[in-house]
């Protein structure tokens, strides 16, 4: 067995009054490509924020790379693309190049300046999302989908071991979604990168992922993709209400 990169044990979480996650336990091994599925408001983004240490669990334990999240300091091993690309300061005067470069901040560490050869890294990262021609454009003047691709490049530039992506393809057109998932699959297969992906386009990712987790405030299913395929639509309906359907 490969070693678990992420372990959650009986993790619960609530915002001030709303209970969001209840007794979540699962683990993710090195090299896994996990898709988290679930309806709106089921707590997917919140679960990712717990893994990133942006919010703290009410109870239970989270381990990253074998270490308790509270004492885990190698955050540069984790790359993150958040759900809303409009969470950033959109009037901010920065070029695409500057934004992507800022993804190196944690990897370099405090007191170290961004090296001169960073430009090559920026170009590579932007090439992998097909945005290399936009280097010197102002970030606020790109379309939502283009911005999202820049943020993906910002996550990739630090070469994280674990990629956490919250609906990264929202606003990206069909063709680019395909090539984006192809790129993820390559990262996963050839570089053994572990990937956790929240998504609603199950069908597009289905032949690239290795694992599936079904979330609706609690984990209803977590396992191999092939086992997920045997679940009946009836069961999915029980977990999610009526609106969810698997298409083959």
């Amino acid at each position: 067995m490969t070693k678990p990169l992420i372990e959650l044990q009986n993790v619960s979480f609530q915002y001030e009054h709303t209970k969001v996650l209840h007794n979540i336990s699962f683990s993710v091994s090195e090299g896994d490509f996990l898709a988290i599925l679930g309806p709106n408001g089921s707590g997917k983004s919140t679960l990712l924020k717990l893994l990133l240490g942006i919010v703290k669990p009410l109870s239970g334990e989270i381990k990253l790379f074998g270490e308790s999240i509270n004492s885990f300091h190698n955050r540069e091993w984790v790359g993150y693309v958040s759900q809303k690309s409009n969470a950033f300061n959109s009037a901010f005067p920065a070029t695409v190049e500057e934004v992507v470069k800022s993804g190196l901040t944690k990897k370099l560490g405090l007191f170290r300046r961004i090296p001169k050869n960073a430009n090559r890294l920026v170009r590579n990262a932007l090439e992998s999302v097909g945005m290399e021609n936009y280097m010197s454009r102002n970030i606020g003047q790109l379309s939502g989908g283009q911005q999202q691709r820049v943020f993906i490049a910002r996550a990739l530039i630090a070469e994280p071991k674990l990629l956490i992506l919250d609906e990264p393809t929202v606003g990206i057109d069909h063709e680019n979604v395909q090539s984006f998932y192809d790129m993820l699959a390559t990262l996963n297969k050839e570089q053994q990168k572990t990937i956790i992906l929240v998504t609603h386009d199950v069908d597009t990712v289905s032949n690239r992922i290795s694992h599936v987790a079904c979330l609706n405030h609690t984990i209803h299913f977590h396992g191999f993709k092939k086992d997920f395929d045997t679940i009946s639509n009836n069961k999915l309906n029980d977990w999610y209400g009526h609106s969810v359907r698997k298409i083959h």
Partner: protein
Amino acid sequence: MIEALLNYPLIQNAFLSGLIIGIIAPLLGVFIVVRRMSLIADALSHVTLAGIAGSLYLSQSVASLALLNPIYLGIVASVGGSILIERLRSLYKHYEELAIPIIMSAGIGLSAIFISLASGFSTDLMSYLFGSVSVVSRQDLIVISIIALVVFVFLFLFFKEMFVLSFDEEFAKATGLPSKWIHLLFIIVVALVIAASMRIVGILLVSSLITLPVATAMRISKGFKETILYSIIFGESAVIIGLISAFYLNLVPGGTIVITSIIILFFVILVKKLVLSLRVGRR
């Protein structure tokens, strides 16, 4: 002017201080503006005024403090105020901006009390309100230089962290940056710069020197470093033109510097419009 610069140390001091502030105020100003903290700068300048008025009152009433340079208590008040603002902001989590009027009123209230205790406005106080070309001492210049050094060291160490923090706070948290500490250091450095700037442009106009050059730069720049560069160019030009005209026309430099900044701002907006319409016309 050149003759005055060579012969009068007080004018030398004012000019050198002005040159330094023309760099550090817009430099930090870029971060202040993009983080939407301009009003905090305003609140802090009023707190600084309370420190200065308090110091002027003390030197009037306590003989042994007669020669106390008000800049020190001004700095203490400004830094104290910045820490208080941060405490209040975390206390009023959902109404963070309430911290600003609270601190601002406290600053103005205290200033008013000290001013009336010190029996009204003195010319000294006026020079702190609107700046001055002729009363900047060597000691002021030294304090301002030290503050500039602090600004440079801070940005040398934390430039990339400040960028991430200003651009995308959630990403900063996710990457595990010590955001809280860097933010606290930042606001203390801002407080220092406000205290340093008041000698030249005056308390009431400090925040203009911090924000106007940045507002101008943002009209024409695409990138962040570019914005910083233009802000410093515009800030420094405003200070130089403002100080020279204050000297020759016998005006307070706060007024001339800020009005110069405004003229530069409108000039840049106009030129940009013109260039754009020329381009459209050509097509």
